[in-house]
Amino acid sequence: MSRRAAAAGSQSSLREANRLLVVETVKRYGGLTQVELATATGLSQATVSTIVRELLAAGVVDTANTTRSGRRAQMVTLARRVGLAVGVHVGHRSMRVVLGDFTHEVIAEQSLPLPSGHRADTSLDRVALLVVDLLERVGATLDDVVGLGVGVPVPVDSSTGMVSVAGLMPGWDDVHVGQVLSKRLGLPVYVDNDANLGAIAESTLGAAREHDDSLYVRVSHGVGAGIVIGGHVHRGAGGTAGAIGHLPVEFPGEPCRCGNDGCLDTVVGAQALLGRLRNSHGVLALRDVVQRTNDGDQRCAQVVAEAGTAIGRVVAGLGVAVNPQVVVVGGELADTGEVLLRPLREAARRKVRLNPFVPLEVVAAALGSRAEVIGALALALRSTDVPLRVDTDEDVDAAAGTA
């Protein structure tokens, strides 16, 4: 939407603010009728009707006839110029599904908490049902969808779309994620590691947009990194490039799910962090640690900062190998801001002193905790043969996909 500068307090600035309010409201709810729009925004019916007509003419929204409590009504949704795509991020304790269009605009979104050690059959079934549910919410069908991008928190073999390292996610080892979902939904499905998807999102739409070489470090229940070289995600021969969570950092260390000892994940993974807080704080969830850190809890902040240092040391090594312009840090724990970032930055810089004039930048993900799912959406969109009307997407890299 074009935003003309208008004098504050003038008629036109008010109109502009109202227009923005209507767009934001439609975006938040996915789709709603003009009557609902009026009550949700607090604007009058007449104002809403005028604004919707303007937005329709400008191609920002679409309208469709529907019924609400037996009466005819106008359903307003964001325009889906060419088609829709679905982004899915399956994590260790939650999944998130978004519907987006070719402008990467998210038009509907839903997250779902998942049990620990959730199984592939149940969770993929829920993915499929959630996708259909979200489509219904915005008045669309599977025919409007061009493809589905799926992120999982383990390395993925890009040629097969299967989990490439056994044992990291019990019950998912032999599951052909792409095939299961594409058979179920009748759509092309592209599967990738979630840190790679975060890297795609941040390097095209987020904090690393200006740079050719960047790292995306995802700090959540486990740690992973996505490596972008010359604008392309580097996945490696077996899809395990950037799997820094399984780099050994302690000798001898705790046993890791991957079969080795002393991996970074055994030091900074959710289980390790929560275990360190158990004596003082009892049983916490990872998001409690984030919330308490932000509320000023010293002990939680200390544990997060220690994790930052440990991850920074490993990022330093990766930095030497890749020499990126920027390291973008995402994942749940990045919501603690500088508490995690400062020690991570310091540890990374202490080791990387190759060029004193270009210090290694370490910044928070611009897309926040949505980076991965937006990356999944972007992956589906860039893998689809439709003329893109998006500006930053020429540096599309070949997708890891299965049709």
């Binding site: 409201t25 779902l112 149940t122």
Partner: protein, 259 residues
């Protein structure tokens, strides 16, 4: 969290209906900022226990403590005064009223002799926003809302009057996955707001997704208590059905459970 005084503590709760032992010597704790799931087969006593907490039914014997103080909960009003809010399976909402009226049903705000509709709408919007609810308008009549949205309204209603403990009886029963997702996110939100939540459910997936602790009832008795983040599906199922550990690992049940 384990060290402090529980928000709700029940000890030795027993209830008999003639020959039926609904509850026998049941213990239950719920802390602030905690989701406790109460699971069990049909007739295990889950709903009976919930009714005692919400003041619908009194135990024959046993102690109930709120913040370490012994209390009796003789009525729903008394429960509400103690900061306990309950959502029963039949949501008890009025189809013909709008969202705001349903939230404040029986507790309408007044300014002088008249209803203070403006303030009620304001609070209604705020409560729905606190829950990150997707209900577009607080003026929508209930009849226009989906099943999931109605459940959201019922959960939002518990927040009116700032309760500290929310009891939810089968909140995701017969909801689609999309609506289940919304409700589960709401439940996590209640906990993150610092409330204690007692979640009664049959769905092991939903329970293990959001709960901190899982308490199993079997034939009206405590039959295990588990840390939800680490316990496996199989172990809870075994506690619910009464299968012993050896049977789970090697017996004929093991093949069934692994499927």
């Amino acid at each position: 969290m384990s060290g402090d005084v529980p928000l709700l503590s029940m000890r030795g709760i027993t209830k008999r209906f003639q020959a039926v032992e609904a509850l026998v010597d049941v213990d239950l704790d719920v802390h602030a900022h905690e989701i406790v799931a109460l699971v069990g087969d049909n007739g295990a006593g889950k709903s009976t226990l919930a009714k005692m907490i919400s003041g619908v039914m009194a135990p024959d014997t046993g102690l109930i403590e709120i913040d370490g103080e012994q209390v009796t909960i003789p009525s729903a009003t008394a429960a509400r005064a103690l900061g306990i809010a309950t959502v029963f399976q039949d949501l008890a909402l009025c189809e013909n009223l709008d969202v705001t009226s349903n939230l404040f049903l029986g507790r309408e705000l007044r300014s002088g002799p008249a209803r203070d509709d403006g303030r009620m709408e304001l609070i209604a919007r705020q409560v729905l926003r606190d829950l990150n609810s997707r209900i577009p308008s607080v003026r929508s009549p209930l009849s226009t809302l989906s099943k999931g949205q109605r459940q959201s309204v019922a959960i939002a209603r518990t927040l009116i009057g700032s309760p500290r403990l929310v009891v939810l009886d089968e909140p995701t029963a017969s909801l689609s996955v999309g609506h289940t997702a919304e409700v589960l996110v709401h439940i996590e939100r209640l906990r993150d707001l610092g409330l204690g939540v007692l979640l009664i459910s049959h769905n092991m997936n939903d329970v293990r997704a959001v709960a901190d602790r899982i308490v199993v009832l079997r034939h009206g008795r405590n039959n295990g208590e588990f840390d939800a983040a680490t316990v496996s599906h199989e172990v809870i199922l075994a506690a619910i059905t009464g299968a012993t550990a050896s049977e789970v690992e090697s017996g004929p049940l093991s093949t069934l459970l692994r499927r």
